[in-house]
Symmetry: C2
Subunit: 191 residues, 2 copies
C-alpha cells in the first residue's frame, strides 16, 4: 500500500518549512517543494489539497509547535513570572522559526476547524497562565487579547526588520512585557 518512494506528510512539511525559513513564505510553492523532494509538483496533490492545502497544513503545524513551545515555557511558573516566560518564548519561537511563524499568520481560511482549535489552545493556555491574577472572566479575556497583540506585534515588526534603531531588542521586549504587567496590577486590583 505504500508505493514508489512514497513521500509522506512529514517530509512535505519539513521541506516546506525549510524553504519558508530560508527564503520566506512567498517562496513556498508546489513547484519548489516538489523540487526539493525530488518529485513532480502534480504528485503533491496525492498528499495535500493544492497550494492552499499545503499552507493550511503548514499553519496548523506551526500553531501546534508554537503551543508546545509555550507550554514548555510556563510549566512550573505562575503569575508575573509565567507571563514573562510566555512572552519570551513566543518571540523566541518567531525568531527561530521565521518561516513557520509566517505560515501561522497568512492562514488561508480562518474558519478551518483544526486551525481554530489550534488557536484556541493557545488562548486557553494564556487564560490558565492568568488564573493566578484573580481577574474576572471578562477582564481576563481582554487581557488575553492584549497579550496576544503585544507578543504578535513585537514578533511581527521585529521579523520584518521594522525596528530600525540600534537599540537592544531583548531589552525592549522585557520592558514591554513588564510595563504591561505593571499596568494590569494598576488597572485591576489583583495579586
Amino acid at each position: 500500500m505504500t508505493p514508489r518512494n512514497s513521500v509522506d506528510m512529514r517530509a512535505i512539511l519539513d521541506a516546506a518549512t525549510e524553504i519558508a525559513d530560508s527564503n520566506g513564505m512567498e517562496e513556498v510553492t508546489l513547484a519548489s517543494v516538489a523540487k526539493k523532494l525530488g518529485i513532480r509538483s502534480p504528485s503533491l496533490y496525492n498528499h495535500v489539497d493544492g497550494l492552499d492545502g499545503l499552507r493550511r497544513q503548514l499553519a496548523l503545524h506551526g500553531l501546534e509547535k508554537l503551543h508546545h513551545a509555550l507550554m514548555n515555557a510556563v510549566v512550573g511558573r505562575a503569575g508575573d513570572d509565567a507571563v514573562r516566560a510566555l512572552g519570551k518564548a513566543y518571540v523566541e519561537f518567531a525568531r527561530s522559526n521565521t518561516g513557520l511563524y509566517q505560515a501561522t499568520l497568512r492562514a488561508p481560511d480562518v474558519e478551518d476547524p483544526r486551525l481554530k482549535q489550534a488557536g484556541d489552545n493557545i488562548v486557553h493556555l494564556t487564560m490558565r497562565v492568568l488564573e493566578g491574577f484573580g481577574l474576572k472572566d471578562e477582564e481576563a479575556l481582554h487581557v488575553v487579547r492584549g497579550l496576544r497583540s503585544l507578543f504578535h506585534g513585537f514578533a511581527s515588526i521585529e521579523q520584518s526588520g521594522g525596528f530600525g534603531l540600534p537599540l537592544d531588542l531583548d531589552e525592549s521586549l522585557s520592558r514591554l512585557i513588564d510595563t504591561y504587567i505593571a499596568g494590569i496590577h494598576a488597572m485591576y486590583d489583583c495579586k
Copy 2:
C-alpha cells in the same frame, strides 16, 4: 508629452487600493490593476517597476496616509489623551483601509530609503506625543517600540479575524492602551 489616455500614478494607486481593500493584497496583480484601468499589463511598466515596484509605491502611499491620519488625531492633545488618540486612529486606519494597511506591511524592500523615511516619520510623531511624559531618551525609544507593537499587533490580529470570541473589540483596544499607559506611569516615574 502626454500621449494616449495616459493613465497616471494617481489612477494606478487608486485602482490598486480599491482591489486591495475589497479582495486583499494577494489579488493586487499587474493583470488585475491593468484590467481595472482598461489597459494591458505591460503598459504598467511605463509607470511602475514591475509588481514589486507597484507594491512599494502602494506601501509608501499607505504609510503617508497613515502618518497623516495619526497627525490629525493628535493635534491639540497631550499626554495620556494623545496616546489614546494615537492608538485609536491607528486601528481605525487599519479598519477602514484594510488593503492599504496590508500594503504597508508586506513591503518588498525594507531598505528602500523612501519607505524608511515614511516609517521614521511615524516613529518621530510617536516620540513627540511622548514628550510630555518626561521620559529619558532611551526609555522613550523603548516605549515607542512598545506602542508600535501594541497597535500593530491589535490591528493585525483583528484584521485577520483572529479575535474569535464575542467580546467587544473597541473595549479590548481601550483597555489595552489604558493598561499600557498605566504601566508606563508605574514603571517610569513620570507625569
